[in-house]
Amino acid sequence: MRYREPICFITLSIAAWLCLSVSGEPGASAFSYGTEAGKNDACLACHGDPAQVSKAVFIDTEHFNQTTHARIGCEACHGKVPAAHPDGGKVSRAGCGECHADVDQEYATGLHVKKTSCNGCHNPHLVHSPKEVSGQEINAMCSNCHNALEMTAKHGEWLPQSELHLRMLPCITCHTGAKEYYISMYIVKSKNDSLFGKQEVAGYGELKRISGGNEIVSLIDKNRDNYVSLEELRLFNRSQSSLRLHGMMTPVAVSHKFEILDDRRNCTFCHTSGPALMQTSFIAVPEADGSYSRVPVEKGAVLDALYGTPDFYMMGSTKNNALNKIGLAIICGGLIMPVGHGFVRFLTRKNRNTKEHKS
């Protein structure tokens, strides 16, 4: 009994250590790489103020604080800040490959490596994980270098309705060798609430206002179980007049090779009815910090549920089965005459032969 207290103390210590280890997985919101996060404030005191630093080294504090990079802290990348900083000496900068070695190696084998480094597309102080961006944001990155008009013309050499394709798809859907895809849906809103207005990705503030201050997802997820059923999706499409959902086919794992793959020129890669690629889907809901959170949607041919969307339709993929049956009935109606009349015609052929002989 006299060892009871030390045994309890040791057991509790081990349990607490285990709990902390499990909850502290990298990427979890509560995770901290140590004490560096606390030191961000010292850096951002100057670098977060546009009046004190040049544009090149200014960091948007609000956005930066939401990134995974903020969690690992400034010194994780800029380890050797000279004592004389800011008056003298260069601040060291870690290469992206030091943490993202696999991406770095893959990128080195791709087409872009000769054109730009990681920074060319990703601002390390604003970077979000692929889960936190909408499809259109991915394309915005590409359009920094690839002029949209030029790309439309270039794709138009072989791709029907190239402008429509480029507007509705993230570039990486075709230009990565991903094997698994999901449908990423995001909420769009007509410009000036006009039915014919151009549809743009609805922002956080606007959606918050429309939802009456509630969580944005409650516009779609009526029972607020953080899971959208196909029925809830249909209901949203029918009930909303100004908001719509657009679906984008997005790779699950984004590769950085940016290949030109011939099999993606096979239209049936996307344009077939309910392929396995289109069974998993999420709704990208905007967050206050400018990122997006994913709300899972019931598995199934989700694009078929978007009936209320006036300008979303995927030829060959999102067809209505009830309509197919009506079409078949119409064609069968057209066959009544040849089949029915032809049959009686065959049975009564003697009548006509007799008359012909008489005449």
């Binding site: 072989w158 029907p160 309705q161 402008e163 429509l164 507007r167 039915l195 014919f196 020129r265 096979n266 239209c267 049936t268 344009h271 077939t272 009815s273 009936y307 969307t309 006036p310 300008d311 979303f312 339709y313 030829m315 060959g316 999102t318 067809k319 209505n320 309509l323 197919n324 009506i326 079409g327 078949l328 119409i330 064609i331 109606g333 057209g334 066959l335 005459m337 040849p338 009349h341 032809g342 009686v344 015609r345 009564t348 009548n351 006509r352 007799t354 008359k355 012909e356 005449s359």
Partner: protein, 244 residues
């Protein structure tokens, strides 16, 4: 038409612009049906080597058929000025002609009686043909063409697409209209085998048989029967009435 005896029994029924238009239309519509089926059902229809070729052929053929349709309309309306007369059923057609033609197809034909209608260049179609072609040429064809043009230009014509109810509605309409055209095509081809319709559409001329020139006695046994204009019996009746 010549007056000499050798051509006396032939009538020039289908002028060459109409024949060219008809066969462009025929080949075009078949190509559109085949490619359209592949576009809508890529997982089960693969008559063309790939989806893109189906889309390309569908788009080009659709445009060719639309343009040839416009020429057809222009030719009959502006050049021949007979569009209304040929395609819009008149009062007599509606009152009696339709029923008579229907009776012919449903009963008289099987009994071996001759067709109550004989085509002339100004009245090429029997009342049933007129009604069917009116629906096909003035409703189905223009609508299927217009919806096709909208789907071909979704981005530039976005406002028009939305005014029509959106892509999904236009696709549904385009599909149902196409099914209706296919249904019509089945009936059209079958009915062409009933009479002497295919040869004039190939060469333009129709051979008129001798007995058709002779007055045909009105089938008095049919209750409510009354001969109408364009039918051989009508002339007999007019003649008898004049004679008192």
């Amino acid at each position: 038409m010549s007056e000499n005896s050798s051509e006396k029994n032939r009538i020039y029924l289908q002028p060459w612009p109409v024949r060219i238009w008809h066969w462009i239309n025929a080949c075009g519509i078949i190509a559109l049906i085949v490619t359209g089926a592949q576009i809508r059902f890529p997982e089960s229809v693969a008559l063309l080597p790939n989806y893109k070729s189906a889309i390309d052929i569908h788009n080009v053929t659709g445009l060719v058929v639309s343009i040839s349709f416009s020429f057809w309309f222009f030719y009959y309306k502006m050049v021949k000025n007979t569009l209304d007369k040929l395609y819009i059923p008149d009062e007599e057609d509606l009152k009696h002609g339709l029923v008579r033609q229907l009776l012919y197809y449903c009963f008289w034909y099987f009994l071996g009686r001759p067709s109550p209608y004989h085509a002339t260049p100004d009245h090429k179609f029997n009342p049933m043909q007129k009604s069917a072609y009116l629906a096909v040429m003035f409703v189905l064809m223009p609508l299927v063409g217009l919806t096709g043009i909208l789907l071909l230009n979704v981005t530039p014509l976005r406002v028009l697409v939305l005014m029509w109810g959106g892509i999904k509605f236009i696709v549904a309409l385009h599909f149902l209209l196409a099914c209706s055209l296919l249904a019509f095509l089945c009936t059209h081809v079958y009915l062409a085998t009933l009479g002497n319709y295919i040869k004039p559409m190939l060469v333009g001329w129709e051979d008129v048989e001798e007995h058709e020139e002779k007055p045909v006695a009105a089938p008095a046994a049919i209750p409510g029967y009354r001969p109408v204009r364009h039918y051989p019996e009508y002339e007999v009746m007019q003649h008898e009435q004049r004679q008192g």
